[in-house]
């Protein structure tokens, strides 16, 4: 690792101020950033740790919306997120227990790894990403692999998930990394169904609109039977070809519909 200083602010205001310094970067759970630093793929001069900021931790539910603060760990969401069972189950299945005890929702959303789980939940739920300066709809937030609408120094302070009637996330695990080889999040709301796909596309997390239409008309696994996603823009690597991933999108969607509760 290159050398850097670490600061541990105790309020969002102080963290934002510290991030204003040249080459400063936010550190949340560190489960992605620390390996990146070890590979010398990042060279911050200051790391601004968010783990000592109490106002960035915890979750609450009101008016049918679950708000999860930015530095809340996956373990906390798994344990306390029972009002949105599909989301709690997703959190409970990220990585392994030790990763879940450190990794946070804000870090996952901000990183927007093309194989990460939370981006699918946020997009699939039509969530709102709250930052220190504004509110961003998930449809605008995720802008392709590792790319988001966040500006330099902007902090994800919370994510607000409208709680659906039913939802489920199905992940086909890449066995070595435990990330999604393909993951599909399906959520049924009174005004329609949303389907978000992660792990599959070179464009990162995205919605599958044909499946959304079919499932809005008939929320049953059979409804997506005849549908297929084009393999053109799918990720291809030693774990699976583009065609294999495209096929898995359909399979995981059906399983998610069947499992939704």
């Amino acid at each position: 690792m290159y050398s850097f200083d670490m600061v541990r602010p105790t309020s969002v205001a102080d963290a934002v101020a510290a991030l204003g310094q040249e080459d400063a970067q936010a550190l949340s759970g560190g489960q992605t950033l620390i390996p990146t630093l070890k590979q010398r793929l990042a060279m911050p001069s200051v790391l601004v740790s968010l783990s000592g900021i109490d106002e960035l931790k915890g979750l609450s539910v009101s008016d049918g919306v679950m708000e999860i603060k930015g530095a809340t760990t996956h373990a906390t969401v798994a344990r306390e997120g029972g009002d949105y069972p599909g989301l709690a189950a997703l959190a409970a299945n990220i990585g392994d227990p030790a990763v879940r005890n450190r990794g946070t929702i804000g870090g996952s959303i901000a990183n927007n790894d093309p194989s990460a789980c939370y981006p699918a939940a946020a997009l699939g739920s039509g969530a709102t990403i709250v930052t220190n300066t504004r509110e961003i709809a998930a449809d605008e937030f995720f802008q392709g692999m590792f790319t988001t609408a966040l500006e330099e120094g902007e902090i994800v302070t919370a994510v607000r998930f409208p709680i659906p009637e039913k939802a489920a996330y199905m992940k086909f695990e890449q066995p070595a990394s435990r990330f999604a080889l393909v993951g599909v999040f399906v959520a049924k709301y009174a005004d329609g169904v949303r389907v978000a796909v992660t792990g599959a596309s070179n464009d990162g997390v995205h919605r599958w609109s044909a499946a959304e239409e079919a499932l809005s008309a008939n929320f049953a696994p059979d409804a997506v039977e005849g549908l297929s996603v084009p393999a053109d823009n799918m990720i291809a690597d030693l774990h699976g070809s583009a065609a294999y991933r495209a096929h898995l999108v359909g399979v995981m969607t059906k399983r998610a519909v069947a499992a939704a509760d």
Binding site: M1, Y2, S3, F4, D5, M6, R8, L27, G30, Q31, I34, P35, L37, K38, V46, L47, S49, S51, G52, A75, G95, D96, P97, A98, V99, N101, R102, R178
Partner: protein, 161 residues
């Protein structure tokens, strides 16, 4: 350099650390507590698992400065007060839950976290919880057996090899 103060295995310690000092480096090189092993250094293998404020974490993927004020427990803090092996450690010995022993500190720390939250886990729950702990020697069966035994359960149903 910044000063960091934490409690490690019940004893308060203060040291001056760099921003990029990892918990593994802090424990092994500063405190000479070499029971916390480094297998991969990329948060894959779990040999470095310790408890920070009661939660199992990978010490290779946490900075020492972030443990300011924390209660830290390592494998060196697991034995009974009289120095004898605790119930989990003894079960690993009795059921041959280790061969070379490299993964064992992480296995014991992970098992302890599991049993605290779930005192009588099923075989499936044990295997699931050990997802982030890799063992090159045992093939896992005897580790699962040891954890079943440590939780006071019958181990005869678990495959012997």
């Amino acid at each position: 350099m910044t000063d960091v103060t934490m409690t490690v295995n019940g004893k308060p310690v203060t040291r001056s650390v760099r921003g990029n000092t990892l918990m593994t480096e802090f424990l092994r090189e500063e405190l000479r507590l070499t029971g916390t092993h480094v297998g991969c250094d990329t948060s894959q293998c779990g040999a470095c698992v310790i408890h920070v404020n009661g939660a199992d974490v990978k010490a290779c993927t946490m900075f020492a400065a972030e443990a300011e004020g924390a209660e830290v427990t390592t494998i060196e803090g697991m034995a009974n007060a009289d120095g004898s092996l605790n119930v989990i450690q003894q079960a690993f010995q009795d059921h041959h839950g280790l061969q070379c022993g490299f993964c064992t500190p992480g296995m014991v720390m992970t098992a302890a976290a599991l049993l605290r939250d779930n005192p009588r886990p099923t075989e499936h729950e044990i295997r699931d919880y050990l997802e982030g702990n890799i063992c090159r020697c045992t093939g896992y069966h005897n580790i699962v057996k040891a954890i079943m035994a440590a939780s006071g359960q019958d181990v005869s149903a678990i495959a012997a090899e």
